[in-house]
């Protein structure tokens, strides 16, 4: 079953076409890697899929809802986390959980239960009342992923979730992603770490606003006769004409 289906999705800013007729489907429970050089149009595309920006043309359904008509319903069914913004640094972990739980309409009892289960799985029982600011980056990212999942969304969008995180925590983070996917959540993720691209079920690589390659990492490596995804990426992105940002 497709939870994301995109057809000829396009976004233009004036004469500049940031996203140029992209089409793809993502299945339920899939880990979908969304790669591209800086400024290839990843962020713009992701914003459209999250219902934050209206496409110029094309069709798209996210979590079963139309992008044009039901943007608000989409927002209820997705989770979002980015490296730049995730948790409020001047609130404690508990307060952050309560806040996001409240936003997604969880009852007080549910929030309490979530807080308990979350602190148990992440082993942060003694840190619940610590300000987020005082936590190491890796912890923060793991917590904010859990918070993004608090309302059991059908799809979770992760924008460079592991940038700058140490290698062990990075893998712990991906283990959390694997678990979420295993339980049926669709994971839509961008990353600059090419080894992480290999963790994905399928990967798309955007170049100059278009999707130039789409497939399982193994397929892509064979197709571009490359030894790893890094090489695939370099071969494709080298051809990029337009500057980033």
């Amino acid at each position: 079953m497709n939870v994301i289906s995109v057809q000829n999705l396009t976004k233009r800013f004036g004469s500049f076409t940031a996203v140029d007729q992209i089409s793809f489907n993502v299945e339920q429970g899939e880990i979908f890697g969304f790669l591209g050089a800086n400024g290839a149009g990843k962020t713009t595309a992701m914003r459209m899929l999250c219902g934050l920006s209206l496409p110029s043309s094309g069709e798209a359904k996210v979590a079963g809802f139309d992008l044009y008509k039901d943007a608000e319903k989409i927002k209820k069914n997705i989770g979002y986390m980015s490296q730049k913004f995730s948790l409020y640094e001047d609130l404690t972990i508990r307060e952050n959980i309560r806040f996001y739980g409240g936003i997604y309409g969880l009852t007080n009892a549910e929030i309490k239960e979530k807080t308990a289960s979350l602190s148990h799985t992440l082993k942060i029982d003694d840190k619940l009342n610590t300000l987020v600011r005082a936590l190491p980056l890796g912890w923060r990212q793991k917590i904010s992923f859990s918070v993004a999942m608090i309302h059991k969304p059908k799809i979770v969008f992760l924008d460079e979730p592991t940038g700058g995180v140490d290698p062990v925590t990075r893998r712990e983070f991906w283990t959390m992603i694997f678990e979420a996917a295993n339980e049926g959540t669709t994971v839509f993720v961008t990353t600059h770490y090419m080894d992480e691209a290999e963790y994905c079920g399928r990967v798309s690589i955007m170049v100059d606003g278009k999707i130039d390659a789409l497939g399982a990492p193994q397929e892509l490596k064979e197709k571009f006769s490359a030894k790893d995804m890094g090489e695939v990426f370099l071969k494709l992105a080298r051809g990029a004409k337009r500057g980033d940002d």
């Binding site: 980056l137 980033d244 940002d245």
Partner: protein, 306 residues
């Protein structure tokens, strides 16, 4: 000659009522002309160390010298000699490419013409945008401009704090090529990065975590020290393989690495066939084990465990 020498540096920050030790007893030396990498995740103390060496911060303990000058007493001398590119883009966004460059040239009492040969290779790539405001440049261009500005006074030591963070793989590769060229101009380069795969591009690296140096050596030297057999494991269900391997008592460590898992066993003599049999019993199919050489990341994680 030692261009950078750091002895027992310690730095403690106050965060509210508690204190955070950013650097613990750091010591190392860098030879002239070396391309030295400081490799570690965010929050490991890289930026603090750079700020101490560029005289922007005072250490709580220990001494350090750059180009023969003490970072505390001779800070004015050091400021004439080093080039520094801070972690985030730190140029004037409302000034054009050319204005930025000539501003930094005059700041160091020199001119673009005087040292043009040094930045030529980098600057030609952005010269066609010289009347464009720096804020309107693309990420890769900004980075090249920032590097040009840091080089414009022909520094003897160049400090680059996470120049490749958040930059895509193509721009990263180009940037490292530029650094290799600069090294031939006899500039000592200190570069920090959270990307482990960039370690192999340095002459020597220091792995840093939680303010402590885990190891300092050439990239080869570091991977050679990985002293137990390392195996890559694959099976049809990779996620189940990961959890199962982690739960086996015979397994010392298991980390996902791209499309395989890197595994070490508690007993170095452990036989792969026994392992395969155990996994087979757990329902795994097409199990493959392969002996592999450790990479920097394997070593980093191994050292992190203590």
């Amino acid at each position: 000659m030692k261009v950078v020498s750091v002895k027992n540096i310690e730095k403690i920050f106050k965060v509210g009522k508690s204190t955070v030790t950013a650097l613990r007893d750091i010591s190392f030396e860098i030879e002239a002309g070396e391309l030295f990498g400081l490799i570690g995740p965010d929050g490991s103390g890289k930026t603090t160390l750079f700020r101490i060496l560029t005289t922007l911060m005072l250490a709580d303990k220990g001494t350090a010298s750059v180009d023969g000058f003490d970072v505390v007493n001779d800070y004015k001398q050091i400021r004439k000699r080093v080039g520094y590119m801070p972690g985030r883009f730190s140029l004037y966004q409302d000034l054009t490419v050319e204005e930025n460059l000539s501003f930094f040239a005059t700041l160091f009492n020199t001119s673009i013409e005087e040292n043009y040969d040094l930045i030529k290779d980098i600057y030609v790539q952005i010269e066609k945008f010289k009347t464009r405001k720096a804020g309107a440049l693309s990420g890769g261009m900004k980075q090249k401009l920032a590097l040009s500005c840091a080089l414009i006074h022909r520094p003897s030591v160049l400090f680059l704090d996470e120049p490749t963070t958040g930059v895509d793989a193509v721009s990263r590769k180009e940037f490292w090529d530029l650094l290799r060229n600069l090294q031939q101009q006899k500039i000592t380069i200190l570069v920090s990065t959270p990307y482990m795969d960039e370690a192999s591009l340095c002459d020597r690296v220091a792995l840093i975590q939680d303010g402590k140096i885990l190891d300092i050596d050439s990239p080869k030297g570091i991977t050679k020290k990985f002293n137990h057999p390392l195996w890559s494991a694959q099976a049809d269900n990779m996620f189940k393989l990961l959890t199962d391997l982690k739960s086996l008592v015979e397994v010392n460590s298991c980390y996902p690495f791209g499309q395989e898992h890197h595994v070490t066993f508690k007993d170095v003599r452990e036989s792969v066939n026994d392992m395969q049999a155990r996994l087979h019993k757990l329902g795994h199919t097409s199990i493959k084990f392969k002996k592999i050489e450790a990479g920097i990341e394997d070593c980093f994680m191994d050292l992190m465990k203590g």
